[in-house]
């Protein structure tokens, strides 16, 4: 009987396919990841059992923080520029191209429109240190609703439909401010909006 010579395989493993796959996945995730944009304000949202996710795009985010400040954010860059010039024109404020560019990269802001050019011309580091007073939203000086109306108009023109309105309130934000925001939106016939919350496991009703 001929001696069966065991085929001597190298003890080291050929990792090439694994590495191929790993890098393929790395590339995929790198390209698809959208990093969470830096928020102008820290908002600790309450949790709810809702499992609906925020839409991917065309979202207007209205943040209400615990100091009753109102912030406005929009994710689409193009209608954002249009909105900026429209609101600027209304209040007699003009923006340079560089300022408009900075504005389109900003995730959210909370300064009155009159202070906006100065705020935009600062560099990123300086901007972080400034305490933003929030957007005026009272009956005498209601810039907030102008932003929303112009954002909706710009979004409708650009994509043919209004943007989703999401309200991001802090857990300890006071109810009158949130109710005021809701009331203002209702006045402009925006009756459907989303409240951003954290996920919480759903309890079974009746137990």
């Amino acid at each position: 009987m001929p001696k069966v010579k065991p085929h001597r395989t190298s003890p080291s493993l050929d990792m090439t396919p694994m590495v191929d796959l790993a890098f393929l996945l790395v590339t995929f995730f790198m390209l698809t990841t959208k990093f969470a944009p830096e928020e102008a304000v820290v908002v600790d949202t309450p949790s709810s059992t809702s499992e609906l996710r925020l839409p991917e795009s065309h979202v207007i985010t209205i943040s209400v923080d615990k100091d009753k400040r109102v912030f406005f954010g929009m994710d689409d860059a193009k209608p954002k520029m249009a909105m900026l010039s429209r609101v600027g024109a209304k209040y007699g404020v003009t923006f340079t191209a560089a300022q408009a560019k900075t504005f389109s990269n900003l995730s959210s802001f909370g300064v009155p429109v009159q202070q906006l050019p100065d705020f935009l011309s600062r560099d990123n580091e300086q901007r972080k240190t400034i305490k933003q007073p929030g957007i005026p939203a009272d009956s005498l000086n209601n810039q907030f609703i102008d932003w929303v109306v112009e954002a909706q108009a710009a979004s409708r023109k650009e994509f043919g439909k209004p943007a989703y309105v999401a309200i991001k309130g802090d857990g300890v934000a006071d109810v009158p401010t949130v109710m005021k925001v809701i009331k203002l939106l209702q006045d402009k016939n925006i009756n459907r909006f989303n409240l951003i919350t954290d996920l919480e496991t759903k309890p079974v009703a009746g137990k």
């Binding site: 059992t49 459907r192 409240l195």
Partner: protein, 175 residues
């Protein structure tokens, strides 16, 4: 890379020292480590990016000539939220000159307001819940109660501004 190794083995370098042969192999372990580290990082960052939302639809404001809709007192169920995470409820409506409904204090826990809502719903499926957050209550309370509406599958509810009479009711009840 595997092919290169094969070539080296089969090539005419038989007389060479062993040490030279070994050096042609690349140790891929650090690279794989890094690749998987990045992979894990990106996988985790993508998954948790989207926050959840709660749909909320407010009623369209009635037109001027529309007659105002009256809610029968038998179908009304009011939840009052006060500061310090206090929550009360009462059944029926608060009307001038009528007997005041009994204000019952409860809690946000599962056996608090949820139990009351479910019990009420079983008794009267046509219940309309009126949610009245006091000015001193916080936004979390509001979201919690709206969430209870989802949990108990209560379809008809409305977010209403708190009235003076409601505030007085809390005050006089002393609970």
């Amino acid at each position: 890379m595997a092919e290169i190794q094969q070539q080296d083995k089969g090539g005419g370098k038989g007389g060479k020292k062993r040490a030279k042969k070994m050096s042609t192999k690349i140790d891929m372990t650090p690279m794989v480590d890094l690749a998987f580290l990045l992979l894990t990082f990106f996988m985790l960052t993508t998954t948790f990016a989207k926050p959840t939302v709660m749909q909320m639809t407010m009623p369209v404001p009635p037109k001027k000539d529309d007659p105002p809709q009256e809610l029968p007192a038998s179908n009304a169920f009011t939840i009052l939220m006060d500061e310090g995470n206090k929550v009360y409820y009462y059944e029926g409506l608060l009307k001038e000159g009528e007997a005041k409904p009994e204000l019952i204090p409860t809690s946000y826990a599962a056996d608090g307001i949820r139990k009351a809502l479910l019990e009420r719903k079983r008794r009267d499926p046509k219940t309309v819940v009126l949610i009245k957050p006091a000015d001193k209550s916080n936004y979390k309370n509001m979201v919690d109660i709206l969430d209870e509406m989802n949990i108990t599958d209560q379809k008809k509810y409305a977010l209403v501004k708190i009235s003076k009479a409601d505030e007085d009711l809390i005050k006089t009840s002393g609970k």
